[in-house]
Each structure stands twice: as C-alpha cells, then as structure tokens.
C-alpha cells in the first residue's frame, strides 16, 4: 500500500497506483492506464445533507444507468458516523460498468467529499474509504504524489500545478504572498554542463538578479539560497506598482534521488524565514525520505 495526498486529501491505495488526473479539489487514481478511484471534495459552509447530494447523483445516473443506496461496508454499523463523519454509501451502474460510491460529510474538517470506485470489490473500497482523510482548516496541507512530498502552511491555497516529465511545479497563494515548489530532474543531466547557481540564474532571473547567493544545507541535500530585502526606494516603488519586492529562493540538490528541488516565495511584506525553512524541510523526494526516514 502507499499513501497519496493531494491538496490535503490523503488516502491509502495499492502500491502501483498513481494519480491519473488531478484537479484543485479532485483526483483520479489507479494503476497505469486504468482509472479506478475518483475522489472529489469541497469545503462545506453551512448545512450539508448527504441524502440531498445522493439524490443529485442518482439523477445524474438516471440517463443510462442507476445509483441506489446500499451499504456495501460490511459490519460498518455506524462506525464512521461516530467519528464525526457521516457516510452515505451507494452502488452504481452505467453502460457496461458498475461500482461503489459514497458521499462523505466530515464535520470535523468541514468538508464534503464524493468517493466513487470502478470496482465491485467491497473490501478494497471499504479500505479506501476508511483511509480517506480530508484537509482540516488551520492545519498544513499535505502533498504526496508521484515522487515528491511536501507540507504547505495553512492558509496557502493551491492556485496552479503541472507535472511534466522532468519538471513538476505547484504554485500557492495567500493573499498577495506566493509560494512555489518545483522539482527538476534528472539532476545529473541538468548539472552536466551547468551548476545550481547558473541553473537558478537562468530559470528564476527575477529572484537571483543582483542578489548574492548563500550556501544552504538541508537534511535532504545541499544547495543555494537567494534572499532579497528591498531598500526604501524599492519598497516605495513596489507599493506603487503593486509588486512583491521581498523574495526568497532556495535550490538544492538531492543527489541520492538525482533531483533538484526548488522553493520560492514572493511577498509584498517581509517573509517569515522560519516558515519558509519549514516548507523547505518538509519538501523532499520520497526516495530520500525513505532513505533518511
């Protein structure tokens, strides 16, 4: 089994599964080429009725299939409900497919979720449902997808992301403050004719230009950091032009995993160095995490 976390929502799935599609509040998981499990979630403000949302689902299936209430969680008997979570399980079929689903209302997290599986394996679906954890307000958001893991401070919302071969990127925002996490690889190819300083200068010129770099060290590797603190004139210009003059960039090489990790922050006011450092320390490749614990 492996744990997959995306934007604060985590669950335990078979080891050969990966995200096949990701949205800001949605993920589809399965082995390569076969989407088996879909999870969607949203914060709940005000009242929430699992029954009412199930009726919506049933209507959506009404065209060429059906969804019917059925508790496929053997011996579940209100176990989840007592832990502050209301679950409405159902079975569905459409066309030649059938599967299991559940509407979830996590009152502690203040979240509603829909889990839908293309399987009739009730034990497996029960295990996925039981392992489902939704982001709680005020807690850091966990990310553990493909080969990276990170914890982002509460309040930072995921704005955009990409997962291209060799280049992953996640961008978060809290007000006008921006946090960016990137992963580049393979490091031995990128650094064959370059250095971390040259690479950072070419890829993030706005964060490195006329800023001196300093060596930095993390448990997962060594690297460089650029920290820009503007003078009074630059602060005034930034305020007038609504720029973010305070910035911090840390680029480090995880030699064992053959990756380069990058964390960058931009803000209109002085950055919290301890918080930035905590983000960097939480941001690792799974390979390095397994090696160093």
């Amino acid at each position: 089994m492996r744990r997959i976390c995306w934007n604060g929502t985590c669950l335990e799935v078979p080891a050969d599964w990966d995200p096949l599609a990701l949205g800001l509040a949605e993920m589809r998981l399965g082995p390569p080429g076969a989407s088996v499990l879909s999870v969607k979630w949203t914060p709940i403000r005000g009242g929430f009725s699992t029954e009412k949302h199930f009726r919506k689902i049933a209507r959506a299936f009404a065209g060429d299939g059906e969804a019917a209430r059925e508790d496929w969680r053997a011996d579940a008997a209100g176990q989840a409900e007592t832990s502050g979570r209301e679950v409405l399980p159902y079975v569905w079929r459409t066309g030649g497919e059938s599967g299991l689903g559940a509407v979830v209302h996590d009152t502690a997290a203040g979240m509603g979720a829909l889990l839908q599986a293309r399987t009739d394996d009730r034990a497996a679906a029960r295990a996925w449902l039981d392992s489902l954890q939704l982001a709680r307000p005020g807690f850091p958001r966990e990310f553990e997808v493909f080969d990276i893991r990170a914890e982002v401070p509460a309040g930072f919302d995921l704005e955009s992301f990409f997962f291209k071969p060799g280049h992953f990127g996640l961008t978060f925002a809290r007000g006008r403050e921006q946090l960016v996490l990137e992963r580049l690889g393979p490091a031995d190819v990128l650094l064959q004719f370059s250095t971390l300083a040259l690479l950072a200068g070419a890829r993030w010129p706005d964060l490195t230009l006329s800023v001196a770099s300093e060596p930095c060290s993390l448990p997962s590797g060594h690297g460089l950091e650029w920290s820009a603190t503007p003078g009074p004139a630059a602060r005034l210009a930034a305020a007038l032009l609504r720029r973010r003059p305070y910035s911090r960039l840390r680029v480090w090489h995880e030699a064992e995993a053959n990756r380069i990790l990058v964390a960058a922050a931009r803000a209109p006011s002085p950055l919290d160095a301890a918080r930035f450092d905590a983000v960097c320390r939480s941001y690792v490749t799974l390979r390095t995490r397994e090696t160093h614990g």
């Binding site: 080429g33 969607k40 689902i57 080969d147």
Partner: protein, 136 residues
C-alpha cells in the same frame, strides 16, 4: 467543477491502444545521419516537403528537388535513449531502462519516453514496429 457530477467517460481513440503502443519497438530510419556535438548529438533527417510547397518552391527557384536535410539536436539524455533504439527493444523496455538509468518515477519515464519517440516519429526519424510484426 460539479462536486458530485458524474465522471465523464473517455472517448475511444482509434489507432494503437496503450498496451500495443508500449509493446511496439522503435526502429531507426536508414536515412538518418548522426554527428557528434559538444553537448550531445545532431541527427540529420530528410525533411518532408508537401507537394504544393515543393511545386511553389521550384517555380520560385528556391528548391532544386534534392532532399532537404533538417537537423535535430539531442542532449545527453536524448543521446542515451537514441543509442538504446535497436529495433528490438520495445517502448516499455526503453521506458524501464530510462527509469533505471536516471532514477525516474516509472510513469515519468514512460511519459518522457513516449514524448521523445513521438517527436522522433513526427520527423520520420523512427517508425514503430508493432509487437505482432516482430513475433511473426
């Protein structure tokens, strides 16, 4: 996004299935030339000229009808993969070799490999030989 909207069913695509594509073996074109460069290798390959463009270029005296050679620069990673293409190894094997060589995530290696081979295929530098052809 509708929270409880039903997942859209993916449309069926014509052509090779994922499994068939991964089982196919890339084969190099005989008309491709290799030149070593400082940071890797340059592949020379004959450019495909559309008939209307060829006719226009000839009329304007811009082209004498000889094959036009285009160049594609490969970096170190591209050179490594190019050296593995022997007409026998299938795409799945090449992706696994890539993942092993550069410690890549298997899905990332597969995506990199398919994107690279697609680029080579679009230029006519390689062709894919289906598994059925090799076994037969």
């Amino acid at each position: 996004m509708s929270l409880f909207g039903r997942a859209k069913r993916t449309a069926e695509r014509p052509g090779l299935s994922r499994e068939e594509a991964l089982a196919a073996a890339p084969v190099r074109s005989l008309s491709v030339s290799e030149t070593a460069s400082d940071e890797g290798m340059i592949l020379g390959y004959p450019a495909t000229v559309t008939p209307w463009f060829g006719a226009l270029a000839r009329r304007l005296g811009l082209w004498d009808g000889r094959p036009m050679i285009r160049r594609l620069r490969l970096d170190a990673m591209g050179c490594t993969v190019w050296s593995w293409i022997d007409g026998r190894r299938d795409v799945r094997t090449l992706a696994a070799m890539l993942a092993e060589r550069y410690t890549l995530h298997p899905r990332e290696a597969e995506a990199s490999m398919t994107a690279f081979l697609r680029e080579l295929g679009k230029r006519g530098i390689i062709a894919l030989r289906p598994a059925a052809d090799r076994s037969g």
